[in-house]
């Protein structure tokens, strides 16, 4: 799918609200971006007001509505940049660079197993939207530290997921344990055509191991600290499977698991 070029867009904040503990939803008015962005791509936002923080914040989006000209992002407050982002209220304006990178590739067949850990949920929800639109069946697993920090299962249900499994580290929602354990249970009884995952690196490594052991192709959405987000600085490298590096912003952020060194 051809995607639009990386450009500088002005945006206005329409809504910015806390959905779960430390998990926020930001709704932006950015009409041109909403038309061009594809599931799994990302954008690099500038949070104004503090010149000592010079890098933009790379964030994936969960939903784009070209008709309304809006893009919806779900993000976790993890540092000073995202804390200040959470303070941008309706009417606040800034700029972003996007749509950046290559997104999810639409599988040729279902069913697909989606596995999301923590702040990896937004791009997985974007993938669920894509599968839903394409009429492909999917199941989804969501993992979080605790129930209060869980986001995504309801949206997956609404998008038509056949099954939604939940795991938490402390057992306050779903089954106590890890997403990989839930994945093993599903793989024992269900047939899948492909796996798509985003979450903490150790989790994704586990998901890739399980997928490959079952002979399933797997797409992974990677995260790296980024200098530019459009291929100019070579700062967001990821070790490639057969030596050398891939660029997270240009070759990714979505990769075939077989492209990377795990």
């Amino acid at each position: 799918m051809a995607s639009a070029r990386n450009e500088l867009h002005e945006f206005e904040v329409l809504r910015n609200e806390e959905l779960a503990q430390g998990i926020w939803r930001l709704v932006l008015h950015a009409p041109r971006l909403s038309e061009g962005i594809r599931p799994g791509q990302f954008m690099n936002l500038e949070v104004p007001g503090d010149n000592s923080h010079i890098l933009r914040i790379p964030l994936s989006f969960s939903r784009a509505d070209a008709g309304a000209g809006v893009v919806e992002l779900v993000y976790a407050v993890v540092g000073e940049g995202t804390r200040r982002l959470s303070q941008m209220g309706p009417g606040a304006v800034s700029t972003l660079v996007g749509p950046a990178g290559h997104g999810w590739r639409l599988p040729s067949a279902g069913p697909v197993l989606l596995v999301a850990g923590g702040v990896g949920a937004p791009p997985v929800i974007a993938a669920a939207e894509m599968l839903s639109l394409a009429g492909l069946e999917f199941d989804a697993i969501f993992g979080a530290q605790t129930a209060a920090r869980l986001w995504g299962p309801e949206r997956a249900h609404d998008l038509g997921a056949r099954r939604v499994a939940i795991t938490t580290d402390d057992g306050t929602a779903g089954v106590r344990g890890f997403t990989t354990q839930a994945m093993e249970r599903l793989l024992a009884t269900e047939e899948y055509a492909q796996v798509m995952t985003c979450g903490p690196l150790p989790m994704m490594a586990g998901v890739v191991r399980l997928a490959q052991a079952s002979g399933l192709s797997c797409q992974v959405s990677m995260e790296r600290m980024m200098g530019c987000g459009f291929g100019a600085c070579n700062c967001c490298n990821i070790a490639a499977a057969h030596g050398g590096y891939k660029s997270c912003c240009m070759d990714g952020p979505v990769f075939g698991a077989e492209e990377l060194a795990w």
Binding site: I54, L55, M225, C228, C233, C236
Partner: protein, 309 residues
């Protein structure tokens, strides 16, 4: 807008630039990455990412950390080699040259032999180049433990070896230390111009894990926090040599660029700001032009080194 009649053209050691604005190598890719943000041909020159005779993988991840008003990088000059670079980016860069923007290609190497080989490859494969920039000061590549240009004698040795291999103007990218002595050594060996400063070696330690925040112990610090240091070093070099200088370090505004010119720079490169605000160059150029006009001169050259103590 004021300053329509102001002459902004400069010559950086024979590289003819329609205005003093250039881009710092490593922050501007090969130029084409920025065409979706602004018309790159507005710039006086661009300096492309350093390339070596053979492809380099660069350093492991992570390569980047953010610190107050700075970033530090340890990319290690990842590049596809001069031949691949010329094949992939040559058509764009030839057109950019035709559009009136000088193309300066950066030369990387680990040894004198590698610099010589890379210069020869550029001579053969990069007819679009108006000049070469010899990077003898990358803090992120090891060559016997120090950058090749760490001493006046070592810098002179590299310069001597490559000078006869090209008729293109040679700019030398300098490290942020011993600027006056190294500048004199390079001038005496035939450098046409000097660009300074390269990133400043720094460290950032994650105190929880006790590990470096990048993949090597040290990395190159750039951005607004190093601007004042860079201006001072340009001023020192300007007092030491007669060849033109290109000031680099933390430029985010026309005023920042103007400081370099007053300190003695003929050209000024935008670096880290290209990454964070990829459309900043035309704004900085307009601000610089307004500043020249505001100083009551008709030619930016009248302001080079016009700093008054």
């Amino acid at each position: 807008m004021v300053g329509k009649s102001v002459s902004m053209a400069v010559s950086l050691g024979g590289i003819q630039m329609k205005n003093p604005l250039n881009t710092a190598s490593g922050t501007f890719g090969y130029g084409w990455q920025f065409e979706s943000f602004f018309d790159v041909s507005q710039l006086g020159a661009i300096t492309t990412k350093g390339c070596s005779a053979e492809p380099w993988e660069g350093n492991p991840a992570p390569r980047l950390a953010e610190l107050p008003s700075t970033i530090m990088n340890s990319v290690g000059l990842q590049n596809p080699g001069v031949a691949s670079f010329a094949r992939q980016s040559g058509p764009y860069l030839s057109k950019l040259d035709e559009r009136g923007c000088a193309v300066i290609c950066q030369v990387a190497g680990h040894s004198i032999e590698e610099y010589v080989r890379a210069v020869e490859l550029y001579e053969e494969l990069a007819p679009f180049a108006s000049g070469l920039e010899l990077n003898i000061s990358c803090p992120n590549v090891s060559a016997g433990g120090a950058a090749m240009g760490a001493t006046p004698a070592a810098a002179a040795e590299v310069m001597r070896a490559v000078r006869g291999r090209t008729r293109l103007p040679l700019v030398v990218k300098m490290a942020p230390h011993d600027v006056a002595e190294i500048a004199r050594a390079l001038e005496s060996e035939g450098a046409d111009a000097l660009s300074l400063i390269n990133t400043i070696p720094g460290m950032a330690i994650d105190v929880r894990t006790r590990r470096s925040r990048v993949s090597r112990p040290t990395a190159g610090v750039s951005g607004p926090a190093i601007h004042a240091i860079a201006v001072r070093m340009v001023w020192e070099a300007h007092q030491a040599v007669r060849i033109p200088l290109c000031g680099i370090g933390g430029v985010t505004s026309g005023a920042d660029a103007a400081e370099f010119i007053l300190a003695g720079a003929t050209a000024v490169s935008i670096g880290t700001a290209n990454l964070t605000n990829p459309d900043c160059a035309p704004r900085i150029l307009a601000e610089l032009q307004d500043w020249v006009a505001s100083q009551g001169v008709n030619d930016v050259n009248d302001l080079i080194g016009a700093f008054e103590c």
